[in-house]
Symmetry: C2
Subunit: 372 residues, 2 copies
């Protein structure tokens, strides 16, 4: 892979010093810090901003998790791509690992419940501070796609294009799997009701949560192709002892252990819960009423092998949007990677999106947004 | 539901007092006890026995977990239906909760690795003791189906019909989910490396394991229909607090807690591992060589919504059997219940099977085995 692009600006923005930032739960945060990164520069009219929203474990550093989009969908010479670490995360924004100024201690499990609406409203405050009144586009996959959709509903006048990949309200099975992931963390005695020492995190519980999630992010076909029923590559024999693993188990353990080193367990709980409660109807009388607020062009992308957010659920959302008179189009990314396809097959996704936009806008430049 | 049939005989059989029972792992057990139940009576020629093999959490009491089969596929007036609690389980047969006579303590995690081959070989010893040289049929779903298949391969001369529902070698995703279930138990500090006091079991870990399993046993469609995104029926609001649950989460917790009261965590580990290592090729030069040993009629049943043992995997096994000159037929049970369909839709399964046998054997009696 080529060298990852450095952001033009990487900084923090803190607001709600004097007036608390109200949350959908009725609780509040005071103040709120968001870590953000800009790739490219805002033009004079500040109308070249693209907000790229990250998923559960991402950060403001868009070029680290979506490098394939740069030079294809994103043109840093022309666009200003903005990444914002979401509220509740652990990569520089206010989250459970942050100090609670009221108590002088980390929030831990006292960090309030966060919704996708809260995340997006905080992002809007940051864009206000940057002088960005309107986004050329908001784009994301998974929880990032939820944010993109929430932007289109909550701030219809501030968005020109909304692109959501593998995102819809979570299904019943998805709610179940998230619940079990949170249980895996809470079952870990090192979790200490959320008051763990960051040096003694609930590592086994968080690793298990991540491994359950990875099963839901990948397709059975990909696992079959990659791991089949082969013994662990390090040489363990699953037939010889209770601890002897198959290759797929070794892979999950490795992924889980790596995740523990880079993610906070309470942030995981917080964001997983925000994923659960994502529902565009919240705050409105119905989903239909919410969808009728949308003014921008919406592009929904389903992933062919996704079983966490099945393509049929994205198609159903497309249909509900059409019924609500939204200008919406649906594309399907053909990928064996399951839900994770928006990252693992980002090359193909970038091609799919850029060819869509060059066709639909009559450009030969394969990039997201035609300069006016 | 009508009153559950009582077994004609419920008893224990203990063998390998003097000579250890050798296991596929190279270890051994001495002695071995199997709890069994007979429904109906063995006839004089002892050729009316049907072995009904239970799945992970079942017992010898077939009429408790498969009542729908009686009066349809099983005729206790004519057949003698035999249920045997499998080696490694906790319902009366030798398992991790049994006393290890060598140490005078419970085996716990010292209970040796068990394979489906071991389970079946122990069952054969019990049938020897009962004087049953040949089974009219061996039938089971899930791990019970694995046993039925192993019987057909390992004891070709002792089986007339083999019926396996939702059973094939576990896929890579299935291996992954079993691994995570075992991790859920081992992560529980109450597990104590398997040496827990039965009064202080790793309840949270076992409940989590069971809940992960239930997700894989049921279909996404069934969850969507039953639970959708509704809040927990007890009145919790998932939007109001971190602990507020959706209905599907309340269901899983309830199932998990109930399971803890009736199942032993070390038995769960043991049987889950046996499920992993099921592979008809083991002990032979290839799967094809193993399949070519089969002499009986085989009926494989896939379940339409099963994603743990997808119907396509059962179809693929059918094809491999055909290539190995086995007299095999495939039927598909149409069920929304996923893998659990062999229990949850047992009425439909009993109809499917009994109509298959009445057609194929020219009987108007809708039962499994025509009297010679």
């Amino acid at each position: 892979m080529s060298k990852v692009l450095n952001p033009t600006i990487e900084a923090e923005c803190t607001f709600a010093h004097k007036t608390p930032f109200q949350l959908a739960s009725g609780e509040h945060l005071q103040p709120v810090t968001l870590r953000y990164a800009l790739y490219g520069r805002l033009n004079e009219r500040r109308d070249n901003a693209i907000l790229a929203c990250h998923a559960l474990s991402g950060s403001a550093l868009v070029a680290e998790w979506w490098p394939e989009m740069f030079g294809r969908l994103f043109d840093p010479e022309r666009d200003c791509v903005i990444g914002i670490n979401i509220l509740g995360s652990c990569y520089g924004s206010s989250g459970p690992a942050s100090l609670n100024r009221r108590t002088g201690k980390r929030y831990g499990a006292d960090f309030p419940l966060i919704t996708i609406q809260d995340i997006v409203r905080a992002q809007a405050r940051l864009l206000d501070a940057l002088g960005v009144a309107r986004l050329k586009a908001v784009i994301g996959g998974s929880i990032g796609g939820m944010q993109a959709l929430q932007w289109a509903v909550d701030f219809p006048e501030r968005v020109e294009h909304c692109i959501a990949v593998g995102a819809a309200p979570l299904s019943s099975l998805g709610l179940a799997l998230n619940h079990l992931q949170r249980d895996a963390i809470r079952n870990d005695s090192a979790w200490c009701d959320g008051a763990y020492d960051p040096e003694q995190p609930p590592a086994a519980g968080l690793a298990l949560a991540r491994s359950i999630a990875i099963c839901s992010y990948k397709s059975p076909e990909l696992f079959a192709e990659r791991f089949a029923r082969r013994p662990d590559r390090s040489g363990e024999d699953p037939h010889a002892s209770m601890s002897g693993r198959y290759d797929v188990a070794g892979y999950l353990d490795y992924q889980g252990q790596g995740f523990v080193r880079r993610f906070d367990a309470n942030s995981y709980l917080t964001i997983s819960k925000a994923m659960d409660t994502f529902d565009l109807a919240r705050g409105y009388n119905s989903e239909d009423e919410a969808l009728r607020r949308i003014q921008c062009d919406v592009l929904l992308v389903g992933i062919s092998s996704d079983w966490l957010f099945p393509a049929q659920d994205i198609v159903a959302l497309t249909q509900r949007m059409k019924a609500a008179a939204v200008r919406v189009q649906y594309l399907e990314l053909s990928s064996a990677h399951g839900h994770d396809g928006f990252l693992a097959d980002a090359d193909a996704l970038a091609e799919l999106l850029s060819s869509h936009f060059s066709n639909s806008e009559g450009n030969d430049r394969a990039s997201l947004v035609a300069v006016a």
